[in-house]
C-alpha cells in the first residue's frame, strides 16, 4: 500500500486542466450538495480555483456576499492557526455587496471581481492597521494603499484580512512576530494526523515557514483564494513550499513595491500565493507593470494578459538541474521528488541537463551581509517622531530614538540592524559590503551564463525538507534558521530572477513537499507555463481537515469515486 492512502487526503483537488481528477466535483455538484453535507459543501466551494469560482459568480450560481461570508466563517474556524492579524469583516462584506451589484448587472470588473484575498501585514492598506507584526507599528493606519493592493481592489477583489508574519518580514518560520507564531494548516489535516500517531495537535504542530506564513496558511486553509506575500530572500516561496501552495516570486521590477514596507530595496518583490499556477497567472497579469510611484518598475513584456497555454509542449524545453543545489542537509524525500520530477520532464521529451552555478554556495553569505546592511538603513526611519511607537522617555532626541527603537523592535530586528551597522563601518565597508556586492555580480553572472547556454528553466528544491515542528524549529536562533532555510531561495533575489514553487506530493509525515522552478529575467509567464505543465502531471491534493473527516462522508465520497471511475 502507498504510504498515503489516497482516501485519507481526498477532497476537491484544484482544477488541473486536461487531466481532471476523476472524483473532482463540478461547480454544480459543489453547490447542489445535500444539506447534511453543508460543511463539506463550503469546503468544496472554498477549494475551487479562482477560475471556477469566478465563473460561478458570473453565472449567478453563487453570490460574492455568500462566498465572502464563507471565507470569513473559515477564518473564524481556523483562528487557532493565527494566520490573520486583522480581519476586515465589515469592509469585506461591503466590497462583496458592491461586487454582487456589478455581477447582477452583468458587468464584472474582471476575473478577480468578488474573489476574497488577503494581504501580508507589511503592505500598506488605507485606514487599515498595518503592523509588520511589530510593536513599532502597532496601531499604525496608513493613509494610502500599496499599489499592488490598490490594483486588486480596482479589480473588485474582496480584502478579507491582513496576514501574520515574522516581525518586519525578518525570518523563515513566521515564529518571530509580536502576535505569536503561525501554525501550518497541514498540522491539523488528515494525512499528518493519521501518519503521526499518538501525538498531540496542541504540541506537535508544524511551522508554516516564513516570513509570509500567514498568507500561506490563509491560502492553504481555504480562507483566501489569493494572498500577497513579500519575497526578499524566499519569504513567499519558503512558506508556500511548506504549506503546499503555489508561490511566485516575480522578476524584480515587474511588480510595484510602492507601499510595501521595505526590507532590502534591491531585492524586495511582492509575491503571489494561490492554490494553482493558473490562478497565480491571473493575479500576475493584474499586478504587473510600470508604476509611477515606483521608479524601479518596468513595463511588463507581455502587455496583453494571455491565459496560460492549455497545451504546452515540453519537448522544446531545456530544464537545467544545478548540481550545487544538492547541498548538505537536503532530505532524502525532497531529493527523491527532485529526481522524480526531473525524470518526468525527461520522459515527456524535455532535455534535462546538469548545470553548474559555481558561486551559489556563497550566495547565502552574500545575502546575509547585503540584507543586514540595507536593513540597517531602512530601519532608520522608525524613530518615534512621525508615526508608529513613541517611547515616554523625553530627555533628549537621541534618548527618545534609542528607547523607542529598543521598545519597538524585537531581538531579531535589533541584531540585524547592529550587524548591518558593523558591516557598514568605515573600516569594514570594503571588506564586507563591497565584497558582497562583487560576489552578487558573480552569482548573477552564473545564472546568465547558464541561461545563455540554452537552458530555459532551472529545477531545484525550494526547501531542504518538509516543515519542522515548532518545538524543533525554535531550538536554533533566527539567523541560523534563515541561513538554512533561505539556502535555495535567496540566489534568485540577488539576481532579480523570477521563481515559483509548486507542491509535488506529501512526505511520509503527511506534509507538503515542493520544488522550485527558476526562469529568466522578465520571462515570468513562460516560467508559469512550465510550472502549469508540471502541476498538471503532479496532481497535488488539496487540504482536508481532520475534524471534517467523518466516516459517513468518507464512505459516501468513496462510493462516488467508484461510480465515477466505473463510469469513465
Amino acid at each position: 500500500m502507498d504510504v498515503l492512502d489516497q482516501s485519507e487526503i481526498r477532497i476537491p483537488r484544484r482544477h488541473t486542466g486536461r487531466r481532471k481528477p476523476r472524483w473532482q466535483p463540478t461547480v454544480q455538484e459543489a453547490l447542489k450538495c445535500e444539506k447534511s453535507e453543508k460543511r463539506r459543501t463550503s469546503a468544496i466551494m472554498l477549494g475551487l480555483s479562482i477560475k471556477e469560482v469566478s465563473a460561478a459568480l458570473r453565472e449567478g450560481k453563487l453570490s460574492a456576499t455568500e462566498l465572502c461570508r464563507k471565507c470569513l466563517q473559515r477564518i473564524k474556524k481556523t483562528r487557532h492557526l493565527n494566520a490573520y492579524i486583522t480581519v476586515t469583516e465589515e469592509l469585506a462584506m461591503r466590497q462583496a455587496q458592491e461586487a454582487d451589484d456589478r455581477l447582477l448587472r452583468g458587468k464584472p470588473l474582471g476575473p478577480l471581481d468578488g474573489i476574497p484575498f488577503s494581504v501580508k501585514d507589511n503592505f500598506c492598506t488605507e485606514n487599515i492597521e498595518t503592523t509588520c507584526a511589530s510593536r513599532m507599528l502597532r496601531g499604525y493606519c496608513p493613509p494610502f494603499n500599496a499599489t499592488v493592493v490598490q490594483k486588486l481592489l480596482d479589480q473588485g477583489a474582496v480584502l478579507v484580512g491582513k496576514t501574520n508574519l515574522d516581525e518586519f518580514a525578518m525570518g523563515s518560520g513566521s515564529t518571530d512576530g509580536v502576535f505569536g507564531p503561525v501554525r501550518n494548516p497541514w498540522s491539523y489535516a488528515a494525512p499528518y494526523r493519521t501518519l503521526s500517531h499518538g501525538t498531540d495537535p496542541d504540541s506537535d504542530w508544524v511551522i508554516t515557514g516564513g516570513s509570509s506564513g500567514g498568507s500561506a496558511a490563509a491560502v492553504a486553509s481555504l480562507s483566501s483564494f489569493l494572498a500577497l506575500g513579500s519575497d526578499t530572500g524566499g519569504s513567499t516561496r519558503n512558506p508556500g513550499s511548506l504549506c503546499g501552495v503555489v508561490a511566485l516570486k516575480p522578476s524584480y521590477s515587474l511588480l510595484s513595491r510602492h507601499g510595501l514596507i521595505p526590507l532590502v530595496n534591491s531585492m524586495d518583490v511582492p509575491g503571489i500565493m494561490s492554490r494553482s499556477v493558473h490562478d497565480t497567472a491571473i493575479a500576475l497579469s493584474v499586478l504587473q507593470g510600470r508604476d509611477e510611484k515606483d521608479s524601479t518598475t518596468v513595463q511588463a513584456p507581455d502587455s496583453h494578459p494571455a491565459a496560460l497555454p492549455q497545451e504546452f509542449d515540453v519537448r522544446d524545453l531545456c530544464v537545467g538541474v544545478p548540481k550545487e543545489y544538492h547541498a548538505p542537509g537536503l532530505s532524502a524525500e525532497t531529493l527523491s521528488q527532485w529526481t522524480r520530477v526531473a525524470a518526468m520532464f525527461e520522459r515527456a521529451g524535455a532535455r534535462v541537463c546538469e548545470v553548474s552555478l559555481p558561486h551559489t554556495q556563497y550566495s547565502i553569505v552574500c545575502y546575509h551581509v547585503l540584507c543586514c546592511c540595507e536593513v540597517a538603513s531602512n530601519m532608520a526611519r522608525f524613530d518615534g517622531l512621525q508615526y508608529g511607537h513613541r517611547s515616554a522617555v523625553e530627555s533628549s532626541t537621541e534618548a527618545l530614538y534609542a528607547t523607542t527603537r529598543h521598545e519597538g523592535f524585537n531581538n531579531v530586528v535589533r541584531r540585524r540592524v547592529l550587524s548591518g551597522n558593523y558591516f557598514l563601518l568605515k573600516q569594514n565597508y570594503e571588506r564586507y559590503f563591497v565584497k558582497a556586492q562583487q560576489i552578487r555580480r558573480l552569482i548573477t553572472e552564473d545564472f546568465r551564463r547558464v541561461f545563455a547556454s540554452g537552458v530555459d528553466v532551472l529545477l531545484t528544491p525550494t526547501t531542504l525538507s518538509d516543515a519542522a515542528t515548532y518545538s524543533d524549529f525554535i531550538q536554533e536562533d533566527n539567523r541560523t534558521r534563515s541561513a538554512q532555510d533561505d539556502i535555495f531561495t535567496q540566489p534568485v533575489n540577488l539576481a532579480g530572477l523570477p521563481a515559483v514553487t509548486v507542491p509535488t506530493s506529501l512526505s511520509s509525515r503527511g506534509l507538503p513537499l515542493s520544488l522550485q522552478l527558476i526562469g529568466q529575467r522578465l520571462q515570468d509567464r513562460k516560467l508559469l507555463a512550465v510550472a502549469h505543465w508540471m502541476e498538471q502531471q503532479l496532481d497535488f491534493p488539496l487540504i482536508r481537515f481532520h475534524d471534517e473527516d467523518d466516516v459517513q462522508d468518507t464512505k459516501s465520497e468513496r462510493n462516488r469515486d467508484r461510480e465515477r471511475t466505473s463510469g469513465s
Binding site: 499604525y140 493613509p143 521590477s253 534591491s266 521608479s295 524601479t296 518596468v298 538541474v321 548540481k323 544538492h326 547541498a327 531529493l335 527532485w338 529526481t339 526531473a342 525527461e346 534535462v352 541537463c353 554556495q361 556563497y362 553569505v365 552574500c366 551581509v369 517622531l385 512621525q386 513613541r390 522617555v393 530627555s395 533628549s396 537621541e398 534618548a399 527618545l400 530614538y401 534609542a402 528607547t403 527603537r405 529598543h406 521598545e407 523592535f409 531581538n411 535589533r414 541584531r415 547592529l418 550587524s419 548591518g420 551597522n421 558593523y422 571588506r431 564586507y432 565584497k435 556586492q437 562583487q438 560576489i439 552578487r440 555580480r441 558573480l442 548573477t444 536562533d477 539567523r479 532579480g496
Partner: protein
C-alpha cells in the same frame, strides 16, 4: 536520467583554518549602539554579532579581483522618470495625524544636540536590558 551526488563545500572547511574569529570590544559595542540607536540588550546580543561576522567572513574565500560591485539588477537599463510636476499633496493633516506628538504644523521632538547617555545610564533607561 540525472543522478546528483551531494555537492561538497570544501572551501568552507578550509576557511575555518584561515580566519580568526572577530571579538567585539566594549568600545565597539558602545560605538555601534550610538550609531544604530538600538542596544545589544545582553552579552548574548554581542555574541550574536560575533557569529554574524564569522558567518560573513566566508566571503573572503572568494576571489573577486577586478569584479565590479553590483548595486542593482536594473543597472543595465534607464529607469523611468516621471515629469517633475506635483501630482499629489495637501495631506499635511493626514500625516500629522499619524504622529503621537505635534504642535501646530510641526512634529515635536525632545531637546536635540544632547549625546546619548553613557552605557551605565543607558541600561537603566532601557527596560529589560542587561548589559
Amino acid at each position: 536520467m540525472i543522478f546528483l551526488s551531494c555537492h561538497p563545500q570544501r572551501t568552507l572547511v578550509i576557511f575555518f583554518f584561515l580566519f580568526q574569529p572577530t571579538k567585539i570590544s566594549l568600545d565597539l559595542v558602545d560605538k555601534l549602539e550610538r550609531l544604530a540607536l538600538v542596544d545589544f540588550g545582553s552579552q548574548e546580543g554581542v555574541e550574536c554579532l560575533e557569529k554574524a561576522i564569522r558567518f560573513a567572513d566566508q566571503l573572503h574565500v572568494v576571489d573577486t579581483e577586478g569584479v565590479e560591485p553590483m548595486d542593482s539588477v536594473l543597472e543595465d537599463r534607464a529607469l523611468y522618470l516621471r515629469e517633475d510636476t506635483v501630482t499629489e499633496g495637501n495631506c499635511a493633516e493626514e500625516l500629522l495625524g499619524l504622529s503621537k506628538s505635534t504642535e501646530e504644523e510641526y512634529f515635536v521632538a525632545p531637546p536635540g544636540n544632547i549625546p546619548l547617555p553613557k552605557r551605565e545610564e543607558r541600561t537603566a533607561m532601557l527596560k529589560h536590558s542587561e548589559l
